[in-house]
Symmetry: C2
Subunit: 475 residues, 2 copies
């Protein structure tokens, strides 16, 4: 490999690589016994690190020792089977191997020409997923649409917003700058990334209307319709709606058929964010939740949230790739090449904010092939079943009550004796280290969220978690 | 690890992991013999892939076989010692191991609380680099500034632009939207990411002034000054200058001291992009190139371009982190936690466009510790020395002449018999597969770019490359 200088020799790479494989395997076998939520205080790690970097190189084994000694205590163990917070971000073994291979190949996929397989595998696997999730055929790359990997749903909604912004202004926002009269819409329950995106894109956070939700936290189409009408009357230009399939707080599903009809009638771009819940559509019995998706101009879901692909991996689809490319394309001389100029290939750099891109599809491809469609379906069903079991325990609890029926793999519940009791119980279980779950606040209630999805979570973890919560709730 | 369901068992992970270590080691030992630039035609890979995903899971070994059989022919081998195109993107063995470990741990660094070590190691290593590169102390996290990892320099310049936009509008652009009167400046030689960023941010591409360069392709301060004055006279609001240390085409260095004084006098935010060349500052003898950096409010360079860290890894610094956070911060209920509310910790989600982030510092930390400062210096000097050797060969060439003296690890040269001859020679060597280099166009000349920096590139590769070019140039 590298025969001279200060490089790691091929023999050393093999030796340390094999040691690392063993280390990761052991980490995953034993992570269950670590406190899930890190207990360090701010500054603890930095106080133990040398103030200056080493002048001379060190052996790899000393780094692995420091990971064990210094880093592990400072980690919140997302891959623990007792991690029930936020969203799973479940990383599987085939996915890790895919990421490692991507690093080992070290190729760039910014242009088709800089590594054709990197682009074509991505397009192909994203087309596979259209079938696997029964998404609208308009998202297939074989028509005018297509899919691309983004890092996160935040970047996806920004790209969707930019494409919509250009379409609605005939490319003028990109050229001349925003004018402060565009208006976007989302629900009060939508992810903060929508607000971040309108700020970034120069549309302005004040020009994002947060449409109220119904009693099940779903965006209200009647209010949206009125808001659009009022904005038009005020001389503003409504152009974009971001709907959510599976909101962050309670996994609520906006009514796409109604929202979609309004967007179509009014000529607004409909973006749909299904970051975690999108994975559920692997199973036919959950696909009713995405009814109305055929109205959307763009869509995203994150295999890094619930489909066993390690972060980052967001699948982003558009029905009209020309609109997206039109918003982001630049072609300087040093990137010109025959395939690009022929128009016969996809250059994904024009589908995203950054220019460079690594070979991220490998891990997604490996996960789909390792599990097969049936294996992925099995685990999604199992997670939903376990969430249902937990909800049953809550129904019979002496301390807690369901805030709402479970939604897929998420259970939202509250302490019967009020918010302070719920907050104290959460602090107690998280502080004890045996499990980790997070919270939200809705309708003046402090809601505990229990989200199932880690690769190593089994029924007994769910039952033990409930037991710990029940005991903490007694105090 | 995962004892049931469709998961890869711990034993299988060990077996396939060890096989993959061997595979990657062998790939790097043999990549030299592969055609550097892929020879496939558009659609070749997709035609060989199954139209639908497998219903049942497959063995990992079949995937590795397909990588060998289907993927490798479709790759342009960036890690080949005969890759001299664009920029090196050199990936070292310790970096790959760091990426693999990051995937194995699978933690999220969006908040300090979601894995404190992930945040603190990043802040710490970025502080190390301030010393290693002798950057201005204002970029240290111990004062009001600090560093953060971005994916690319494109994202870094966007974040810098957003911070500057908010500062110059008192936060109004974020809230109310852009108004089309802001003006940004960069040189005609700046990277396309600056233009992309002003488009995204709603400033408008028409409001980016491309300041002409002098005869060494450096931004002309006198023209910048006049342009700012003219824009102010027209009622516009100059707010941002993006200067380049090491331009994409010829690795030219903008005159920071002069630009900096203008920015300071006029109250403009100065961003400095040193994507590839920044690494050279590891060596004291190259630091004169960054004189004037003390005028900058933000700076970035990419260890994934020339410092042996696999993509993606961009180090982005600001002198005033409050300005950056002010432009990107949102705090929804579900992300509230005691350390965040205390103000005592860094939450890096507010320093970037996406919310989620993986543990990217591990690979950077491993690279610095494996090589040590001296090892990294050695290799940078060696690359510069090899570029100098190549330039010597060009000086004595029967076909080529230097377009300019070599700049660090880049040699720009042209065919003596004109552009068509140069273009044909480039097509011939790239098509033959023995090496890969790219081109640019300047002053109506077709320039060949020879950039040295791959981990495995040695003197004999450089000499063989020149030989191949000389032969291709004869025809």
């Amino acid at each position: 490999m590298e025969p001279d200088g200060f490089h790691m020799s091929p023999e050393e790479f093999r030796r340390h690589g094999h040691a690392l494989v063993e280390w990761i395997a052991r980490y995953r076998e034993t992570v269950e016994s670590s406190p899930v939520l890190s207990r360090v205080a701010p500054g603890d790690l930095r106080a133990q690190l040398p103030p200056a970097p080493p002048q001379e190189g060190e052996d790899f084994s000393s780094m692995l020792r420091d990971v064990e000694r210094l880093i592990l205590p400072g980690l919140t163990h997302w891959q623990s089977p007792n991690f029930f917070a936020l969203f799973p971000s479940n990383a599987s073994a085939p996915s890790m191997l895919g990421e490692f291979l991507s690093a080992g190949l070290g190729v760039q996929g910014m242009l088709w020409a800089t590594s054709p397989a990197c682009t074509e595998l991505e397009t192909h696997v994203l087309d596979w997923l259209v079938g696997m999730l029964e998404l609208p055929a308009a998202f297939l790359s074989t028509g005018p649409g297509g899919g691309v990997l983004q890092d996160t749903a935040s970047s996806a909604v920004l790209c969707a917003l930019l494409a919509a912004r250009e379409q609605s202004t005939g490319g003028r926002a990109n050229q001349e700058g925003c004018r402060g009269n565009l208006v976007a819409y989302t629900s009060t329950q939508a992810h903060s990334s929508v607000e971040k995106a309108v700020g970034i894109a120069g549309v302005g956070r004040d020009n994002l209307r947060r449409i109220p939700t119904d009693d099940a936290w779903r965006m209200r189409p009647d209010v949206l319709e009125v808001a659009i009408r009022r904005d038009r009357a005020d001389g503003r230009v409504p152009f974009f709606v971001s709907a959510t399939l599976g909101t962050t707080s309670t996994l609520a599903f906006d009514p796409l058929p109604d929202l979609g009809r309004i967007c179509r009638a009014e000529g607004l771009w409909l973006h749909v964010d299904a970051a975690m819940a999108g994975t559920a559509s692997l199973c036919p019995e959950f696909r009713a939740l995405q009814a109305g998706l055929e109205f959307a101009q763009s869509y995203c879901f994150n295999p890094h949230k619930w489909m066993f692909v390690n972060f980052d991996c967001d699948c982003f689809y558009v029905t009209d790739r020309a609109a997206l490319v039109g918003a982001l394309r630049i072609l300087p001389e040093y990137l010109k090449n025959a395939p690009t100029l022929s128009g016969a290939v996809i250059d994904y750099r024009d589908w995203q904010v950054p220019l460079g891109r690594r070979f991220r599809t490998l891990k997604l491809w490996f996960v789909i092939r390792h599990y097969g469609v049936q294996g992925l379906q099995h685990h999604v069903r199992e997670h939903v079943r376990l969430a249902g079991e937990f909800a049953e325990l809550v129904r019979r609890s002496r301390n807690y009550e369901l805030f709402q029926p479970p939604s897929l793999n998420l259970v939202c519940f509250a302490h019967k004796r009020g918010n302070a009791a719920g907050e104290r119980a959460l602090e107690r279980v998280n502080g004890a280290g045996k499990l980790y779950l997070s919270h939200t606040k809705l309708a003046d209630r402090y809601i505990l969220r229990f989200c199932v999805g880690q690769a190593m979570t089994r029924a007994h973890h769910v039952h033990a978690a409930f037991q710990a919560l029940e005991e903490a709730g007694d105090a």
